[in-house]
């Protein structure tokens, strides 16, 4: 079970309160977890990654185990604590605007 923490506006869109728990088929990579997230919550498609390029939206970051995974390729395997469910994958909206 993979745990994902969404920023508040995306929780509202997905109609969820706390963390999201996902089952991922095959290797748990950044890309496969985001695929599973969008399959379960299709209203989030396009809000985290671009519809066409699948690139991360500029003001969002991915963190896990206090590491910034934002610049990692989609096929990078997530850290073991994330795969075991001990730690969540955090999708973080940057603080911007001053």
């Amino acid at each position: 079970m993979i745990r994902v923490v969404l920023p508040y506006p995306l929780k509202t869109l997905a109609h969820v309160d706390g963390e999201v728990e996902l089952t991922v088929e095959g290797p748990a990579t950044l890309g496969s977890v985001l695929d599973a997230l969008e399959a379960r919550y299709p209203m989030l498609k396009g809000t985290i990654r671009d519809h066409v390029t699948q690139e991360r939206r500029p003001f969002l970051r991915y963190f896990a185990c206090q590491e910034d995974l934002s610049l990692e390729p989609a096929n990078v395997t997530l850290p073991d604590p994330v795969i075991s469910g001990a730690e969540p994958l955090v999708i973080l909206a940057s603080i911007a605007g001053g």
């Binding site: 299709p42 809000t47 985290i48």
Partner: protein
């Protein structure tokens, strides 16, 4: 008894203001979509309880919201949780916020670049939906004006959107350039007497018309004069801020350009200036009285570098002669120390008698007049900056 529903899009959410036909006591619902920019909300003329909203964010991109109960509840019209997101042959389903430019070879001459601020060519990049224009006859058909400028259409209630690529592809697209607010398609007018005719306006490319339901387009800017571009009389490149139409006379259009107020009586083939005695002819909004096709409203703004009313006095100007002769309407509006702006989609009229006129400001006020503009009052004073105001008159 008739009632009125005012749909207000703001910098931090949507608000719905309702009143009976007297328009004296108002209920305020909201904020809906709190924290998100709501560029525009509009109801379907064919089903007033069907509303559409453009919800957008610099962080999370574009969302389309739809209501089927007059704004009490909302949904994203795409695929529901738990439903398959792809068809059996692998095609994506129901992505209501997916606006992808048409680059297929079969749809005219799809473009990949337009002119950038420095004169170089720049790729077309989707940013947001500025304006949603529901069909006059079908609640599931809606046109969307987007930035970077293009027009899209849905025929399934917003589940999927397709570009009408003939607009970008008609020939002048590589010369279009963004204005200060971006290169947005902000005005869509559907001709109530000719279902094949559509008018659009783009900042800062100008006005365009289709006579075949959106397949092909042509610029309609003859008579526009813009001193700030290399050729003031160019076919395109004019910063049109807003166009308005009266339903009974769809060949007559009124335009608030960057500078100048203009009108056409031949569906845009020729325009003439009707700024007349306006104290300044810069502005954003323009609208037409619901029952008097020659009665027009504008809110003059000081200049393109000073986006507030002249002398700090918020004045709506009304012409009862189709332009040229304008009178200031001030009763109930602040006449000192007022430095708000009134953005291009922020004025609307109801169809009651007497006609109600409404506008919102960047200071968060929504002003209304229940007597065609003679007297004004604020429905609300302290909303976030208002992006758009649309009015529905309900039976």
């Amino acid at each position: 008894m008739s009632s009125v529903r005012v749909l207000v899009g703001t910098h931090k959410g949507a608000f719905i203001l309702t009143s009976d036909g007297k328009r004296q006591k108002w209920d305020v619902s909201g904020p809906h979509f709190i924290g998100w920019e709501i560029y525009h909300m509009k109801g379907s003329p064919a089903d007033p309880n069907r509303l559409y909203a453009s919800q957008t964010s610099g962080w999370f991109g574009q969302i389309i919201q739809r209501s089927s109960d007059g704004g009490k509840t909302w949904e994203q019209p795409g695929t529901k949780p738990g439903e398959p997101t792809k068809t059996p042959d692998g095609m994506p389903m129901g992505e209501s916020n997916k606006f992808v430019y048409d680059t297929s070879p079969g749809s005219g001459k799809p473009l990949t670049t337009h002119q950038w601020y420095d004169g170089t060519q720049h790729p077309w990049e989707f940013k947001r939906v500025w304006h949603l224009e529901p069909s006059l006859t079908d609640p599931n058909t809606v046109y969307a004006g987007i930035e970077d400028a293009a027009i899209f259409r849905t025929t399934d209630g917003g589940k999927t959107w397709q570009e009408l690529a003939g607009l970008r592809g008609h020939g002048t697209g590589p010369k279009w350039a963004p204005g200060a607010g971006g290169m947005c398609l902000h005005t869509i007018l559907l001709d109530p007497k000719n279902s094949k005719r559509i008018f659009v306006a783009i900042s800062s490319a100008g006005a365009f018309r289709s006579d075949d339901g959106g397949t092909s387009w042509k610029p309609i800017n003859r008579g526009l004069k813009s001193e700030y571009i290399p050729d003031p009389n160019a076919e395109i490149g004019h910063c049109v801020h807003r166009i308005a139409m009266h339903r009974s006379r769809p060949n007559t259009l009124f335009m608030q350009k960057h500078w100048d107020v203009l009108r056409t009586d031949d569906a845009g083939d020729n325009w003439r200036e009707v700024s007349g005695n306006l104290p300044t002819d810069f502005g954003f909004v323009i609208d037409v009285h619901a029952h008097e096709p020659e009665t027009v409203y504008v809110v003059p703004i000081k200049s393109d570098s000073e986006h507030f009313p002249l002398e700090g006095k918020l004045r709506v100007y009304r012409s009862r002669s189709g332009g040229n002769e304008w009178e200031p309407l001030t009763n109930g509006l602040p006449q000192r120390d007022c430095y708000v702006n009134v953005l291009r989609d922020s004025m609307s009229v109801d169809s009651l008698d007497p006609c109600g006129v409404y506008f919102g400001t960047t200071g968060g006020q929504v002003y209304a007049s229940a007597d065609s503009g003679d007297k004004w009052f604020p429905i609300v004073r302290d909303l976030p900056p208002v992006f758009s105001v649309e009015v529905q008159t309900l039976a």
